[in-house]
């Protein structure tokens, strides 16, 4: 809801709000320029003194005004000709022209009415309202993204456009909300919707009828400092009945020209005072620095408009376009999708199409938007959920379990859960299993028992479809061919071979970094932005299913590097290890933010065996800030499969690697990484006490060995691996 409230006004108002912001930013310069150009004020000068000096050098003086920036202007009518000029308050003489700046006029009219009079004013007011809605809904979105209002300035991840949008927004939102709210107030005032009109002082019953009382001795003017002056109107020449009209920051008064006494007074109403303050806040007239700040902030609006549109486009691309998605309120079947990389959306779309062909009204949406109240007519809810990491919610399912837990009763519609995952991982479909368990605990009526789809298997999916069809009394034929992800062609630059002698042929493959389009750089997609620990998906010839390898380089290194071991009979590893420099493979990047080193200065304990050193080596290579890194590396034989041996020596010399421990498994006394870890328990414990982050990459057996060794090392400190994991200080990339 908040997102829709943010997205639509944003897209619709993009152009006009940009005009509004840019013209506003340009206008913000004028009060500051005027302030700088204004002649120096005279400290403690009274209006009486000023008026006397100006009148002495300007016969026929009619009016003196002081602008909020301090510029004094005089108007006179002499010898049948009107004149006006900027005045030096010290001498009362003319120092410059008082004609309004035509550029400022032009900009002002563009800014407030697009040169379209009242209709334009209303359009621009609507834009200001849109900006206010954007600022408020945007603030709520920032708080949601960073994890709460207190974490307003928390560090951001993700593609450049999204980060830029939020980085700017969290600085600018207050200023933009202020500009927009004050604009609406000023529009209301312009259209007489506020009781902030001027109150004219009552006419005096009688005036002295005298004239030519010396200005510098007028009591009513001597008491008023020039700082508080707005305007002093002179009586008509020769009209003894006329009076001086004095406007100050406190109100307006009439002064008898024959006595110099105040004969009538009306103070500013509270409404007027509020309106004047708001005018000052909006225009910077009288608050030039604030005006400049608001102007600078306004410059962020076009940038946020463009990046916001990019975010919207990127978000739409992530999901398959579904034709005729039934409205949430009218659907009898609701499909909720929990997807990390987007492939589950493809399955959901196939399912929706088949159900629609069978005559169902189907609504498809992300699990994060789960709200049974939106689907009053739904008979069944089908959840298609992938799993992120070790049983965590995937991106489009964030918050689902919390929302389910908060519900007092299970939804009336029945439920079927289908998990998507990879059986080679221990947490296979763990998130889907959590949903199933939570639903059972709530007493949610099952339509089908939970089922799973292994590695995007079309067969598994079709089988589940038949079971679903049976439960519904329909014939459902689910024929889903996963889309091949958009891949780039990578050219092999070089390969370094290891492990032949220990029957574990392994190679470090370095590919040229493909050229990223400007669009990709801006949105941080594809090969434009990745780091060690992200995944490289390789599409082997003869298979539509990608195989993933941990990246041993980042985009800043200027190349794409992975470490591959040949698996007996392995399709993809066989093809990769057969590559010669110049050969090409089809590949794409998938982000893996859970296995990034992060930015802090805390020590890193990197633990890996075999090809698991790949991402760890990439992290060390990128450690230009010399964060203390301790690498624990498990290998078979130092003479055969000591991957990155020379690099590690060089990185140690450069300070990128502080400490290297190796565990050799094919030796007289075989040692594994967990043994090395235990041998250095004291140093490891010390580092963890100092806030170290532990990153483990390699086979599952190794990871389990490391976990139990860490458990022993942590126990004396009253810590467990699970506690470190919860704090993001213990992460694994296990295969």
């Amino acid at each position: 809801m908040i997102r829709a409230l943010h997205r639509w006004p944003g897209l619709v108002a993009l152009i006009l709000v940009t005009v509004l912001a840019l013209s506003g930013a340009a206008l913000s310069v004028f009060p500051a320029a005027e302030r700088l150009a204004a002649p120096q004020p005279v400290a403690g000068q009274s209006v009486a003194d000023l008026a006397a000096r100006v009148a002495a050098s300007h016969p026929g003086l009619e009016e003196i005004r002081r602008s909020p920036s301090g510029t004094i202007t005089a108007w006179w009518f002499d010898g049948g000709k009107p004149g006006s000029a900027v005045i030096d308050p010290a001498t009362g003489v003319t120092v410059g022209s008082a004609d309004p700046n035509p550029v400022e006029r032009w900009l002002t009219n563009l800014h407030r009415s697009l040169f379209l009079g009242d209709a334009g004013r209303l359009v621009m007011a609507a834009e200001a309202a849109a900006m206010l809605v954007l600022a408020l809904s945007g603030a709520a979105l920032v708080a949601r993204r960073t994890g709460g209002w207190r974490r307003w300035f928390a560090r951001l991840r993700g593609p450049l456009a999204g980060r830029l949008h939020v980085e700017l927004a969290r600085v600018a939102v207050l200023g933009l909300a202020l500009s927009a709210a004050t604009a609406l107030w000023m529009t209301a005032s312009t259209f007489d919707l506020l009781p902030d009109g001027a109150v004219r002082p009552a006419d005096p019953a009688a005036v002295s009828g005298q004239m030519a009382f010396p200005l510098d001795r007028m009591a009513a003017l001597r008491d008023v400092p020039v700082d508080g002056l707005r305007k002093l109107g002179f009586p008509y020449a020769g009209d003894a009945q006329d009076v001086f009209t004095l406007s100050t920051d406190a109100g307006t008064g009439l002064i008898d020209q024959g006595t110099g006494d105040l004969v009538s007074w009306s103070a500013l109403t509270p409404w007027q005072q509020v309106s004047e303050t708001i005018y000052m806040l909006h225009t910077g007239q009288g608050a030039a620095v604030l005006g400049l700040i608001l102007g600078l902030i306004a410059l962020s609006v076009p940038v946020m408009g463009v990046t916001g549109a990019l975010i919207w486009v990127a978000g739409r691309r992530g999901r398959p376009r579904l034709r005729d998605n039934a409205p949430a309120g009218r659907a009898d079947t609701v499909i909720l999708v929990g997807s990390e990389g987007g492939s589950t959306w493809g399955f959901a779309a196939t399912l929706a199409r088949a159900l629609k062909d069978a005559g169902q009204a189907v609504h498809i949406g992300p699990m994060s938007a789960f709200d049974p109240a939106r689907h009053p007519r739904a008979d069944r809810i089908l959840i298609l959920a992938a799993t992120y990491g070790e049983g965590d919610a995937p991106a489009s399912a964030k918050g689902f379990l919390d929302r389910l837990a908060q519900m007092t009763a299970a939804p009336a519609a029945s439920l079927a859960v289908l998990g998507f995952g990879d059986r080679s991982f221990p947490a296979f479909c763990a998130y889907a299993a959590q949903i199933e368990a939570a639903a059972r605990a709530k007493g949610w009526t099952p339509l089908l028992p939970m089922d799973t789809v292994d590695r995007q298997s079309p067969q598994d999916f079709a089988r589940w479809g038949r079971a679903l069809g049976q439960a519904l009394g329909l014939t459902l034929d689910l024929n889903h061919q996963p889309d091949r992800p958009a891949a780039d062609s990578l050219t092999l630059l070089s390969r370094r071979d290891y492990g032949e002698a220990v029957q574990a042929p392994t190679a470090i493959l370095r590919f040229a970094l493909p050229k990223a389009s400007f669009w990709a750089r801006l949105t941080g997609r594809g090969f434009a932005r990745f780091q060690a620990g992200d995944l490289l998906g390789i599409l082997p010839q003869g298979s539509a299913v990608p195989r993933f390898y941990s990246l041993a380089s980042g985009s800043r290194d200027g190349f794409v590097e992975i470490v591959v071991k040949k698996h007996p009979g392995g399709l993809c590893s066989g093809q990769l290890l057969a590559l010669d420099p110049g050969d090409r493979v089809q590949a794409f990047v998938r982000r893996n933010p859970g296995f990034h080193a992060g930015r802090g200065r805390a020590p890193l304990i990197l633990i890996g065996a075999g090809t698991g050193i790949g991402p760890l080596a990439g992290i060390i290579r990128a450690n230009a800030r010399r964060r203390p890194v301790h690498l624990v590396f498990g290998l078979r034989d130092p003479d055969s499969d000591f991957l990155y041996r020379d690099d590690l020596t060089a990185w140690t010399a450069q300070g990128r690697l502080a400490r290297l421990s190796t565990a050799v498994s094919r030796a007289a006394r075989p040692r594994y990484v967990q043994d090395a870890l235990r041998a250095e328990a004291a140093q490891v414990a010390e580092a963890i006490r100092g806030g170290a982050k532990v990153m483990v990459c390699g086979g599952r057996d190794m990871a389990q060995g490391v976990a139990s060794a860490l458990e022993d090392i942590l126990a004396p400190m009253g810590l467990t691996p699970a506690m470190l994991k919860a704090g993001g200080r213990y992460v694994e990339d296990v295969y």
């Binding site: 009619e62 108007w75 009107p82 035509p102 006029r105 009219n109 312009t190 007489d192 009109g197």
Partner: protein, 155 residues
């Protein structure tokens, strides 16, 4: 160019009962190119003693700015009933406002004076831009204003 016909029989005190004693008068106000936004103009009549008699036209739609037409505002205390039905848009720099209305014959050669107050945003107020006695002989003679009005003619 604006050409308006306003019948003031119901709206102001300037007409006597019966149109037989009134005649159509065209008031033409041409503004200078003073380089600002549209001007607010108040056209009104005072009697021989300088007392306000009634308004003929108000060019400018937002009543909150009427205080800048300071003589008119002082005379009427900003009473909007005075200009009910005889209000039009403000007049741009260099443009001409032309109004045709029926004025009572008795207003001519009887000491009445036609005034125009003018005001422009962010520029100085100019009350009493024009003060021209209403006489049969003066009809058709252009009168220059003080600041914003290049010429004013009635006939």
């Amino acid at each position: 160019m604006k050409s308006l016909l306003a019948t003031l029989a119901l709206t102001t005190a300037l007409t006597l009962p019966g149109l037989a004693s009134a005649r159509p008068v065209t008031l033409t106000t041409t503004l200078n190119s003073y380089g600002g936004d549209g001007a607010y103009l108040a056209l009104y009549v005072t009697d021989a003693s300088g007392a306000y008699v009634g308004s003929l036209w108000m060019a400018g739609g937002k009543s909150k700015y009427y205080e800048h037409l300071s003589d008119w505002y002082a005379a009427t205390r900003g009473d909007l009933a005075q200009i009910n039905g005889i209000t039009g848009a403000s007049v741009g720099a260099g443009r001409t406002l032309e109004i045709t209305l029926d004025l009572a014959d008795a207003l001519f050669d009887a000491g009445y004076t036609l005034h125009i107050d003018a005001a422009v945003e962010d520029m100085r107020d100019s009350p009493n831009e024009i003060a021209v006695p209403l006489t049969a002989a003066g009809a058709g003679t252009p009168v220059p204003g003080r600041r914003y009005i290049a010429s004013f003619t009635y006939k």
